[in-house]
């Protein structure tokens, strides 16, 4: 049986603006999305902020109803069979909310164990195991309000696993974590996958889905742009070279001049603290570096490097300008 089946799923939201004259606006978060996830698969959903990743995760975990289409998890319809489905899935939403800050880490897990109808004799054994798994055993008796962001995130993972779910939904689980905490969390996710769990992971970190996922769907503006293995996505840019130009003050006119260059396929601007890094994708890009630098005249260039393309470059190519928010 397929773990997750999504057919033509759509979801729109109505938002209102104004106080006296209220204007309604319909925003489409998901537009005709279809995909399947096999049992035991670690599937990644990659996209920029506002692409529809969280909306899809919430529909699949029965928290939100779809506007159109249908979705099944473990053969159960997420709308019609929500009650039967809920004990069999776990969900972890990103961020610091979703925990009882005044309770200890252990009491939080116990609270959710009861809400998920885990028998006391099982939860007594499982809670210490989960706290050990996420590295919180020594801090389990402390109130969550004193936890770091990374600790809260790991507690979220433990909470999501309390009912030993067959399918685990992870919505941007490493968002906001420092690099070490994020790496530790990715190790936990990989271990869960190795233990046979089906995992549906959303992220806007390319390296994360590249490192963890067997298949990945790139979603933008509520639609799936491409779905394949990370290796196949990288093939999209296999013939390209990437020129990275680090500069202090590049104008939008200069970027447009670069985009108009006949050999350039995409330009992605990455703002890193005080500097801007232009990632220029072009076949045989190294040969055209002098031309690129000429087009960037006055940009106060600090460094130029060339490298082989990554999944991130495939993502940039797929999403074009929309990838800028990543």
């Amino acid at each position: 049986m397929t773990a997750i089946v999504i057919e033509n799923l759509g979801r729109s939201f109505v938002t209102t603006t104004g106080t006296i004259r209220r204007t309604q606006k319909t925003v489409t978060a998901l537009d005709n999305v279809s995909l399947t996830v096999e049992p035991g698969e670690l599937f990644g959903l990659l996209g920029p902020n506002g692409a529809g990743k969280t909306t899809l995760t919430r529909i699949l975990s029965t928290v939100l109803l779809p506007s159109s289409g249908r979705a099944e998890v473990l053969g159960l319809d997420v709308v019609r069979d929500a009650k039967q489905l809920r004990p069999r899935i776990g969900m972890v939403y990103g961020g610091e909310r979703g925990l009882y800050w005044r309770l200890s880490g252990r009491d939080n897990i116990q609270y959710f164990a009861d809400l998920y109808l885990v028998p006391p004799e099982v939860s007594r054994k499982r809670i210490p195991e989960l706290l050990e798994l996420v590295g919180l055993k020594d801090r389990a008796e402390e109130r969550v309000e004193g936890y770091s962001r990374g600790m809260k995130q790991r507690l979220h993972i433990a909470r999501g696993l309390i009912n030993d779910p067959d399918v685990l939904f992870l919505d941007e689980p490493t968002i906001g974590l420092d690099p070490i905490a994020a790496r530790e969390l990715r190790t936990v996710i990989a271990d869960l996958h190795n233990a046979g769990k089906t995992i549906f992971l959303t992220s806007h970190y390319m390296y994360e889905v590249d490192a963890l996922c067997q298949r990945v769907a790139v979603v933008n503006k509520g639609q799936i742009v491409m779905m394949d293995t990370p290796a196949a996505l990288k093939q999209l840019v296999a013939n390209l070279e990437v020129v990275e130009v680090e500069c202090l003050s590049v104008s939008s006119e200069a970027i447009n001049r670069l985009r108009d260059h006949p050999r350039v396929e995409a330009v992605h601007v990455d703002n890193r603290d005080q500097v801007q890094v232009l990632q220029i994708q072009a076949p045989g890009g190294v040969k055209y570096v002098p031309e690129f630098l000429h087009l960037l005249d006055g940009a106060n260039i600090q460094k130029v490097v060339t490298r082989q393309p990554t999944l991130e470059d495939a993502y940039v190519k797929l999403l074009g300008k929309d990838a800028i928010s990543v």
């Binding site: 979801r11 939201f13 109505v14 909306t55 919430r58 975990s61 029965t62 928290v63 939100l64 109803l65 009650k83 809920r86 004990p87 969900m91 939403y93 961020g95 909310r97 979703g98 925990l99 009882y100 800050w101 005044r102 309770l103 200890s104 009491d107 116990q110 609270y111 959710f112 009861d114 809400l115 998920y116 109808l117 006391p120 109130r143 909470r159």
Partner: protein, 263 residues
């Protein structure tokens, strides 16, 4: 149903944990005790000036009950409010369990706080005004207080459910508190209130419970006040049922509209 005791126990522990965070020496000595005692002194003083020791005793019992019952309403409303602030409502929606016993358990902390408030008012005011109420009569009133507190918690739950989409649930709780002070016979004999106010008082929890408690403290038996307590229980059940349906409805609507994070 076999999970209910466990859910109730965990809810009670969570309720206590929520309350205990606020029970620091600074908040207890600087706000909780003075607020409860000073408010009671204010109204008992007025009653003493207006009608002597008998009316003062009447106001003392009314105000100690009001202080206790008000904490039950606020604590239950805060339970809902905290779900919103903690961002745990999506998890509540998606949980397979019936969370009613969990909520019931979480309201227990309010009862405990209410009992402490009663003891505080008695400890401070009885010596100040030179009054005496036999301890045995007070102890006989405790079960009636617990029933009344449960009914008031249901009102707190309803208030929390009504105010869930807003950010001013606690303001409404305060308004309810003042309404009860005026309409439930706290400072004036209930039968002496204007009929319109009595009508409101009859529809609120505490009115019948307070009448029963006053009667028991004055020597009545439980069977004498059974009718009043049945009324109190029925009122509590009605508030509880409406609160349950409304809260569930709010969560259903949130599932449809996707606005659960905007509460």
């Amino acid at each position: 149903m076999n999970h209910w005791p466990q859910l109730f126990k965990t809810g009670a522990r969570a309720g206590w944990a929520n309350l205990s965070v606020e029970l620091t020496p600074a908040t207890v000595l600087g706000a909780r005790i003075p607020r409860t005692v000073l408010q009671a002194i204010f109204f008992v003083l007025i009653a003493y000036a207006a009608g002597g020791i008998e009316l003062a005793r009447f106001a003392l019992i009314g105000n100690m009950m009001h202080a206790a019952i008000f904490s039950c309403i606020v604590d239950m409303s805060i339970v809902i409010e905290l779900e919103k602030w903690n961002g745990t409502l999506p998890y509540l929606i998606a949980s397979p369990a019936n969370w009613f016993p969990m909520m019931l358990g979480r309201s227990l902390a309010g009862y405990a706080e209410g009992l402490v408030r009663i003891v505080l008012v008695l400890c401070f005011l009885l010596p100040i005004f030179g009054m005496g109420i036999p301890a045995i009569d007070l102890l006989r009133a405790v079960p009636l207080f617990l029933v009344t507190a449960a009914a008031a918690s249901a009102l707190g739950w309803l208030s929390g459910a009504i105010m869930l989409p807003t950010r001013w649930g606690l303001l409404v709780c305060n308004t309810i508190g003042y309404l009860m002070m005026v309409t439930c016979g706290v400072n004036f004999p209930f039968t002496a209130l204007p009929p319109a106010i009595q009508w409101i008082g009859h529809a609120l929890p505490m009115t019948h419970g307070l009448l029963a408690i006053r009667a028991v403290i004055d020597g009545a038996t439980y069977s004498d006040v059974a009718g009043l307590m049945v009324s109190e229980i029925i009122i509590g059940l009605i508030y509880g049922a409406v609160a349950w349906k409304l809260f569930a409805h709010r969560l259903d609507v949130a599932r449809q509209t996707g606005n659960i994070e905007q509460f």
